[in-house]
């Protein structure tokens, strides 16, 4: 019998649909895998064995009863701990939400449940999605299955490592500045940040409202497309949700056709600052696309130089306001201040926030509070919004000459845990290529381009498309994946080291 943990979501869907395997068997196999390897990888903050098996049994029963089911019914999934899940703890990787169990489901989670997808558990993340390594999780970092001493990316390192270590075929991530794509890049997996507004944010605990976007994580391009289709679409509970048909992402992934497509290489996102092995795999990938019938053009986006600076004003500004609700009054942690008799509400708020937030969160709250202050607003938040407009203009101009834009996803392969923890700027620079898409609200996908020569670790290839043209990401991604997989003689993760299995 095939190893169910290594099967893709598409393969599992076929097996389940044909009745050759039950959802309980698949779910059980994945939970067993988690029991065996997650002690080392630490993808999960919470595993919901009972809930997942109950959901699997329900789907199996309905299938036996002859009900018409969603194509992914019975395929288990892991969900980033930033999505509200009714009855399941949701901590956002923070002590301040320790033990909080939401009374409601995020819209995205409602859709997963409606599709009959058992939720295996909640994945680790940098606290409130602030970070590129999961080292800022209050519950300890996740580890990269390619090298347990290295980061699995962040903030969605739990979701990237959970699919990379075969604990789940699919996971939900969220991407504010690259938190789906950069973890995918450094773990040899696939991840998509859809168009802003393409997937409902209702129930996504906000980091930066104007940048946050939930999306799929998987091991293949087609799997991401299948999941993308489940979670996308208009939601009346999210004002910023786009009221338009979901782009035909699955069809695009299946056709994998790039003939005649104009591929734009962004001059500002290649070359200097990018690790040689990462750049080499990128160049080869572009050649594969040319071989598949695409045309290559070079484009320039001069305002990208200011993207990181603008991002680190807008994000902390919005975050400082979004995180104000964590005040110990209604839910989550409550800390009594030391040595104060009958403390006031303000004193309890201060003591709780001091104890409940980690350093990176405090750093960004302070930054954002400052940037929004009277007298500084125009210089900081106001200027950053102008840069944002310039970046959107750069993209608009680039998409005049190119159908999609491409770049390496991250400048480097996975760095070692602890390497950049004391150097926030170095950590921030890891998102240099992913941030512009969030600022402009356009979709982006990352897929593996191969292993860097110097360290044998995965490198990522990023595809960007105009807003609501998410299908183009999958055309390019699937075409490139087919050629690369053929060249490698199999999926890239087949070359990852076997994890030691705990007994």
């Amino acid at each position: 019998m095939t190893d169910l943990t290594r099967a893709t979501a598409a393969e599992l869907a076929d097996l389940l649909g044909a009745g050759s395997v039950s959802s309980r068997e698949v779910t059980r196999a994945l939970l067993d895998r988690t029991a065996a390897v997650d002690g080392a990888v630490h993808s999960y903050l919470h595993v919901d064995e009972d809930g997942a098996l109950a959901a699997a049994d329900d789907v199996d029963r309905r299938r036996t009863a002859g009900e018409s089911l969603h194509a992914l019914a019975g395929v288990p999934i892991a969900v980033k701990d930033v999505m509200a899940t009714r009855g399941l703890p949701t901590t956002c990787g923070s002590k301040i939400l320790e033990g909080w169990v939401p009374p409601y489901d995020a819209t995205l989670v409602t859709r997963l449940r409606a599709a009959g997808m058992p939720i295996l558990g909640k994945t680790n993340m940098d606290e409130f999605a602030m970070g590129s390594s999961t080292e800022h999780s209050a519950y300890g970092p996740s580890h990269n299955p390619w090298d347990l001493e290295r980061i699995p990316g962040g903030s969605g390192g739990g979701s990237s490592s959970v699919v990379a270590s075969f604990q789940a075929p699919l996971a939900i991530g969220t991407d504010t500045g690259g938190s789906i794509r950069q973890p995918a890049a450094v773990t040899g997996t696939v991840g998509t940040k859809p168009t802003y507004g393409g997937v409902s944010r209702y129930g996504l605990v906000a980091l930066a409202s104007s940048l946050d976007q939930a999306g799929p994580c998987s091991r293949t391009v087609l799997d991401s497309a299948l999941l993308h289709e489940v979670i996308a679409g208009h939601d009346p509970l999210d004002s910023t949700s786009v009221d338009a048909p979901v782009p035909p992402v699955v069809e695009a992934a299946r056709r994998a056709d790039v003939s005649g497509m104009r591929i734009g290489i962004v001059r500002e996102l290649t070359g200097e600052g990018f690790q040689a092995g990462v750049q080499a795999r990128f160049d080869e990938a572009v050649q594969h696309l040319v071989d598949a019938g695409a045309e290559v053009v070079e484009v320039s986006c001069p305002s990208f130089t200011y993207a990181l600076a603008a991002y680190y004003l807008i994000l902390p500004s919005e975050a400082s306001s979004n995180l104000a609700k964590f005040d110990a009054m209604r839910y989550g942690l409550r800390v009594q201040p030391d040595g104060v008799d009958a403390p006031s509400a303000e004193q309890v708020m201060a003591a709780t926030r001091d104890a409940g937030f980690g350093d990176e969160v405090k750093r960004r709250i302070i930054l954002g509070t400052y940037a929004l202050s009277s007298g500084y607003y125009d210089a900081y938040y106001g200027s950053a919004q102008k840069v944002r407009r310039l970046i959107a203009n750069d993209f608009a101009a680039a998409f005049e000459t190119a159908d999609v834009l491409v770049s390496p996803t991250a400048p480097t392969t996975a760095f070692r845990l602890g390497d950049k923890l004391d150097d926030p700027m170095a950590m921030y620079l890891n998102d240099i290529a992913t941030i512009p898409a969030n600022l402009a609200g356009i979709p982006g996908l990352s897929l593996p381009s191969g292993l860097a020569d110097e360290d044998g670790l995965p490198a990522g290839f990023q595809v960007l498309a105009p807003a609501m043209a998410d299908d183009r990401l999958y055309s390019v991604g699937a075409a490139l994946e087919a050629r690369l997989t053929a060249a490698w003689g199999g999926p890239i993760l087949d070359r990852a080291p076997e994890l030691e299995v705990a007994r």
């Binding site: 949701t90 209702y202 605990v205 104007s210 004002s239 104000a324 303000e346």
Partner: protein, 509 residues
């Protein structure tokens, strides 16, 4: 935070006005009467059990997102139009950031520099019939906060309380905040202008059916900004903001009190502290609240969870078409139709009788009768209970139909005026309809001309001198005889008929 409890020195109103001109700014918060909250689908009914009208959105649970209530936006636009404002073609919500336990998100979703309505005015009629034009700076949309109940202290305020309870039912109720430009030049009429403005605004909003505008329930709340400037000065003085002045009478009193207090401080060489003041309804004074310092910074920025509000010009014009006739214009129209003198109309308006008179006329009474019967005894009784006539009438079950019936009893000749007054008192005493009261009390003009003629004969015989004067043409002397005839008939006579018979008998008809 400083808190003073006792009253501060004040100057008399006249003394204050001799040296200073008051400058006022009123901020009125109005809870809209929408069925659901500003950003979620929770109900807005007043008086429900605490925390039963809440959901993830209005509790600010992590991950929840707001969605704008379209009806609230329409109400806001209609209010803006009724206040003669321009309506923004494109505007956004903003976050007003500050920490307070009754604010679930620790920011209030409001509007900052892009209000939905701006630059309008409202004409306010004063008691003497003159008009004061209040310039409106803006009307903007926002959400209400929850309601804190401070327990354990003597005052109900946070000072001295041992703990606090929070009810989030009110959190997220749609509010419109209407802000005036500085109101200058009102002089000694400033308290009256302030009260009249709030009253006019209340009537307008009520007529528009956008809010129940119940100040006592907090669905209309008023903050009074006040400063004084010396008569020879050309810059405004430092202002104070007196919060939660929640009745018309209190608006007038609070303005009057703050004028006196500011004047006392300034006259003694002191300076006014820019601060919020608490209004005490019972003692009629204000006390110091929070000191407003430059450090207070709400860090406003556009609300990223909401899309801009961009009403089309067509939709704005369509909403303009739904506005009711402005109360002031309506009053002018009714006054002309009813043929009331200015003073009569003003009395009707001030007594809050416009609707009642209108209904009574519609039911078939003459305007004069409607005005007469609703403003006499019934007004006295309503005043005695401290309520207005319409609510008093509603409570005791007296209706326009009663007035119509009473008037017809007079015009048909069954009752004279004095009998009608007796019948009306019986109606107000709950004895039944005017006819029933008249029946029960035996009120009826004597229609038998024989009895009347006999009475006239008796009176003429008893007053030969007066009779002679009338025979000689001094017809005005008839009044003395009529009075005696009425006494002879014990009031049950029609005075007009008595006059006619006397004149006939004395050859003057």
């Amino acid at each position: 935070m400083t808190t003073t409890t006792g009253p501060e020195p004040t100057l008399s109103f006249d003394e204050a006005l001799a040296s200073f001109d008051p400058v006022m700014g009123l901020e009125v918060h109005v809870e809209l009467g929408t069925n659901t909250k500003m950003f979620c689908g929770c109900p807005t009914a007043f008086g429900a059990e605490p925390n039963t009208q809440t959901c993830p959105v209005c509790l600010g649970l992590p991950g929840a997102l707001p969605v704008v209530n379209a009806v609230a936006v329409e109400s806001a636009i209609r209010i803006g139009l009724a206040l003669n404002c321009s309506i923004a073609e494109w505007c956004r919500f903003a976050r007003k950031n500050y920490f307070y336990p009754d604010m679930p998100k620790n920011f209030q979703t409001s509007q900052y520099d892009e209000p939905i309505a701006f630059d309008g005015y409202l004409d306010v009629e004063l008691e003497d019939g003159s008009t004061y034009r209040v310039q409106i700076e803006r009307a903007h949309m926002e959400e209400d906060t929850g309601k804190s109940l401070h327990v354990g202290g003597s005052t109900g305020r946070i000072h001295g309380a041992t703990h606090s309870l929070v009810d989030y039912n009110r959190a997220g109720i749609p509010l419109i905040e209407i802000v005036t430009k500085p109101m200058t030049g009102a002089g000694e009429r400033a308290p009256e202008v302030a009260k009249a403005y709030v009253a006019t605004l209340r009537d307008l909003l009520k007529a528009m059916d956008v809010s129940d505008v119940k100040m006592e329930q907090g669905s209309m709340r008023c903050d009074v900004n006040l400063s004084l400037m010396r008569k020879d000065a050309d810059v405004f003085g430092t202002r104070t903001e007196t919060k939660n002045v929640n009745s018309l009478r209190s608006v007038e009193r609070a303005v009057r009190y703050e004028i006196g207090r500011h004047a006392a401080v300034l006259s003694s060489g002191g300076s006014i502290t820019q601060e919020t003041r608490h209004w005490h309804e019972d003692t009629g004074i204000t006390t110091s609240g929070r000191v407003k310092s430059d450090a207070e910074d709400y860090r406003y920025f556009p609300e990223p969870d909401l899309v801009p509000v961009a009403p089309s010009r067509e939709s704005v014009e369509a909403l303009r078409g739904t506005l009711p006739e402005p109360p002031a214009e309506r009053r002018k129209r009714l006054q002309a139709a009813w043929g009331f003198a200015d003073l009569e109309m003003r009395d009707v308006v001030n007594a809050g009788l416009v609707e009642l008179v209108e209904e009574t006329v519609a039911a078939g009474a003459s305007p004069a009768a409607a005005r007469k019967w609703w403003s006499g005894e019934v007004a006295r009784r309503a005043n005695g209970e401290g309520v207005d006539v319409p609510s008093y009438a509603a409570r005791i079950g007296v209706t326009p139909a009663h007035v119509v019936e009473l008037e017809s009893l007079v015009t048909s000749g069954r009752l004279n005026d004095s009998m009608a007054r007796q019948a009306w008192e019986g109606v107000l005493d709950g004895e039944g309809t005017p006819t029933a009261v008249a029946d029960a009390r035996g009120l009826e003009l004597v229609q038998d001309t024989g009895a009347l003629e006999a009475a006239v004969d008796t009176v003429i015989a008893a007053n030969p001198d007066v009779a002679d004067k009338i025979r000689d043409g001094k017809v005005q002397a008839v009044g003395a005889l009529i009075g005696q005839v009425m006494r002879e008939m014990k009031g049950h006579a029609d005075a007009a008929a008595a006059r006619q018979i006397i004149l006939e008998k004395l050859g003057q008809a």
